[in-house]
Symmetry: C2
Subunit: 326 residues, 2 copies
């Protein structure tokens, strides 16, 4: 019997979730739900219906877990609690300061609906969070470092696109090799923002645009670029399409901890991802499986990756995973 | 209120556990239990009693979790089920083929005693197992690679010491850089034993011993060395003491997985440990905390790292870990 998955929102992340379902023998995609006109949407799975979001109410019986692929700013704070009353849900909410409120809202909705609602799932928050917690719990004396990249930051790319005269932009976040090496060597450095990451921008501008003015607007932009060493490259639309169409990302959580009489230990978890949305979608689908299994055991309420035993992510039995992976 | 820990067995691992307890504000060591004469043992924690193993029966009320630091060959198969009837227990059982039997024995004892028994905890089995399972569950299409080292293998060092004419020996397992790089590049190579690791041996021999014969006995030793490229260095006792007294270890679990239309993702978890027993002890203590918390919730039976939600390892509350590490 397959776990029936619905996807709400069909952007890059929704397509990543769809790709992950195709690789999961114990799951089936039963519908994609959209706020757009369903007829306008062509999805990558044959024979699966595209429906209006309004068809999620009243509760449908062809959804075991609803994967909510919306934005953290306005979509998820409203959608995840709303649908947690009807379905097991999972999201990738990543506005850090608002996690306590979001958790509380999803928790009360999920308890009301007798469902499981997993929030803030993906790789950061998500797998990186797990690795921070495991490392800190094992080695309470030490320092955690998180580096991102090399990878595309959508938020920073969008910020450049809003500058007058810019047609398109792609921003790569790049960890500073010297800082990485110092952390890996167990030197426990104190690092400023500028010492941890650099930012590299590829920008397509309108004919005759003032490149010097645009470059200056980028590198001095507060919050986004002013605190970093930023490089700007002006390229053509053809070069953008040819060299920068992927959405790679990744990074490392490095923990340097001490035990006993001066022994140092370095724990590193690194991701090198060709497609950020496809990997995030794959994490969501593994945890969607967990949401389903937990709910079948009678569990309800909001959960994060911290609350879920790893065995719940696997399609295999306890006996199988002990025999093969322990 | 502190979690009261007993340590059974005071070798390298027992001392590593003791060091980890000192760094854990929510724990206290209440006794070290030994099969040796307790009076012969000097431990590193002032004011803590050393007692005979026989004093573990009948059940004591000054132990919340008993950390069993014995060997997998003969000690743990007997000790862990025996004491699981009386206490929450944890061990680092690592004889892979016998895990199903050990799990079943500990499970029935722990259920009888209403305790939690965590088996096969440490870094491999343990943290490496977790990372194999997480990666495989997220990316079902892909390949897992485990590399060990650079680090000291006690088993291989012991095997060399049994050769006639050998006074002392230290064996380092070293991953092959070329293999590591190929896996990290997502090339999904098929690797033979010889292509994954090399073995480097430092050997002290008796005066006038036949070095050529000893070297040949090492490099041709079945199971231990014959399938590897092995280097042998003859050194003095002084050099052994000066350069090889540490017990470093580590390694990497690298998973290379595919999603969608040919996107490759590489997940790497690496450990670089100055002291293998102190790190293993620290993992045991984090999971000892989990055993205690689970048992207080009414859980009983055998568990592995797969069955335990990460939040149980932390001394902090759910609110705190969501606020700080998610």
């Amino acid at each position: 019997m397959s776990i029936k998955i619905g996807i709400l929102g069909y952007g890059n992340l929704g397509r990543g979730v769809e790709a992950a379902i195709k690789q999961s023998d114990d799951m089936v995609l039963t519908g994609v739900y959209t706020r757009r006109n369903p007829d306008s949407l062509k999805i990558n799975t044959e024979g699966v219906a595209v429906r209006s979001v309004s068809e999620l109410e009243p509760k449908r019986d062809d959804i075991d877990v609803l994967v909510i692929c919306g934005g953290s700013a306005t979509d998820l704070p409203e959608m995840t609690p709303k649908y947690a009353e009807l379905y097991n849900v999972i999201d990738s909410f990543d506005t850090h300061a608002n996690i306590p409120t979001h958790f509380a809202n999803v928790d009360s909705a999920a308890k009301k609906g007798n469902t499981v609602g997993i929030i803030s799932c993906g790789w950061d928050p998500g797998m990186f969070s797990l690795n921070r917690l495991y490392a800190l719990s094992i080695l309470p004396v030490g320092n955690a470092y998180t580096f991102w990249g090399k990878g595309v930051s959508q938020g920073h790319s969008d910020a450049i696109r809003r500058i007058e005269g810019v047609v398109d932009a792609r921003q790569y976040t790049i960890p500073v090799e010297k800082a990485l090496n110092s952390v890996r060597a167990g030197e426990n450095p104190e690092l400023t923002t500028r010492e941890k990451h650099t930012r590299e921008c590829f920008v397509v501008v309108e004919d005759g645009a003032d490149k010097a003015r645009i470059e200056n607007e980028i590198v001095t932009m507060p919050n986004y670029f002013a605190d970093y060493d930023t490089t700007v490259h002006f390229i053509t639309e053809e070069e953008m399409k040819r060299d920068h169409s992927g959405i790679p990302h990744g990074g490392s959580v490095i923990y340097s901890g001490q035990t006993g009489d001066g022994n140092n230990h370095v724990i590193e978890y690194s991701l090198n991802l060709s497609s950020n949305p496809e990997f995030t979608g794959a994490v969501l689908i593994a945890y969607a499986r967990a949401a389903y299994k937990l709910n079948r055991e009678g569990v309800s309420g909001a959960k994060t990756v911290f609350d879920i035993a790893p065995a719940y992510l696997s399609a295999e039995s306890g006996e199988e995973i002990r025999a093969h992976y322990l």
